[in-house]
């Protein structure tokens, strides 16, 4: 159900952002989703396919999903740490940090339109 909500949200967001005429020329939707976003790309693809069964308007629009890994940047020493095993700890100075710079994304990153 979660993935269905997200597909609906993507379509609603694009309808808000772009004119209907422009959306007719849409060719591909690029998403960037972090490992922390609780979005499973495979399930999102399934939900997107199901969306087309109900509404054929975007059935030729490809969905491309890029997953990102988890990174934090220490507020004290600025060091960037690749978080493993969900230990939110700067590997340089060992201080805890919640400053996630990658891995939380749920972005409609890029849209491709037919010229």
């Amino acid at each position: 159900m979660h993935e269905t909500s997200i597909v609906n949200s993507i379509i609603a967001t694009l309808e808000q952002e772009f004119e209907a005429e422009k959306l007719q020329k849409m060719k591909a939707i690029y998403l960037k989703v972090g490992i922390l976003s609780n979005i499973e790309p495979r399930l999102l693809h399934n939900a997107y396919d199901v969306y087309h069964l109900r509404n054929g308007r975007f059935q030729n629009v490809a969905l491309k999903i890029e997953s990102t890994q988890l990174k934090i940047q220490c507020e004290i020493c600025n060091h960037i740490t690749h978080v493993e095993n969900y230990r939110f700890l700067c590997e340089n100075c060992q201080r805890p940090s919640k400053n996630v710079i990658e891995g939380e994304e749920m972005l409609i990153h890029k849209i491709e339109f037919d010229d």
Binding site: M1, H2, S5, I10, L36, N85, Y86, I108, H109
Partner: protein, 232 residues
């Protein structure tokens, strides 16, 4: 919008637009509206999340019993089906509204906003949103709350913060519930706190039992302090 030639592909048939739009933009927009309405009335909004069966509704009942003479509180409670939880909370004499999600595994800001006008917010100090019992999807949906509190029952096992990191990363407090069962279950409070703080070093922790009353005073004091700050 103008076409940037540099973003065209080699055959020149495609035009790209970098959008970087948040997937949940629609939700977050409504969450902001809720936030503003709560600021106007000075109502403290708390989003309660947890797995199913960890004692959210029982904690709501205990909280209502303790605080109903001191403050005005109300609850909206989300479930896939039935009005059972709202009925249980109403038995304590406070206003409770059931949101039946009809299969959706989380509450969205739009669902909360739709029912807000059924609450007399001007006269409500504390409004709880008891989310659908699930540690996954509710983590992604901002409901405009001031604080997110996640219950973690001793019967669930102490390994949940690392299994569901997003929920614990986005929570302000972890309430270890059913503490009266600690002697009977293989659950280490120390281990759960260690894992939760590795995910979120700022998370506050309280240990409560709605059955024997342990920690309920501390929980209510925390709420009263936050209500005062919100009114401030």
């Amino acid at each position: 919008m103008s076409v940037d030639k540099s973003t065209k592909d080699a055959r020149g048939t495609v035009q790209c637009e970098n959008t970087n739009l948040n997937l949940l933009k629609a939700n977050d927009f409504v969450a902001d509206i809720i936030k503003k309405e709560m600021a106007k009335t000075g109502t403290l909004l708390i989003n309660i999340t947890s797995s199913a069966g960890s004692g959210k509704t029982t904690l709501m009942q205990k909280t209502a019993e303790k605080l109903k003479d001191k403050i005005t509180m109300a609850v909206m409670v989300g479930d896939l089906e039935t009005e059972r939880d709202a009925e249980r909370i109403r038995e304590t004499g406070i206003h409770a509204l059931q949101i039946v999600t009809g299969g959706i595994c989380h509450l969205e800001a739009q669902m909360v906003h739709q029912v807000l006008d059924q609450f007399d917010l001007e006269n409500i100090d504390l409004l709880f949103i008891e989310n659908v019992g699930n540690l996954v999807c509710p983590a992604s949906f901002d409901l405009g709350e001031d604080y997110r509190v996640t219950l973690m029952a001793t019967t669930e096992g102490d390994d949940k913060p690392k299994k569901y990191p997003k929920m614990f990363l986005t929570s302000d407090m972890m309430v270890v519930s059913k503490a009266d069962l600690l002697p009977y279950v293989p659950f280490s409070v120390e281990a759960v706190i260690k894992d939760a703080r590795e995910v979120n070093h700022e998370i506050e922790v309280l240990q409560v039992s709605s059955t024997n009353g342990e920690g309920i005073d501390e929980w209510c004091d925390w709420l009263l302090k936050k209500i005062e700050q919100k009114k401030g």
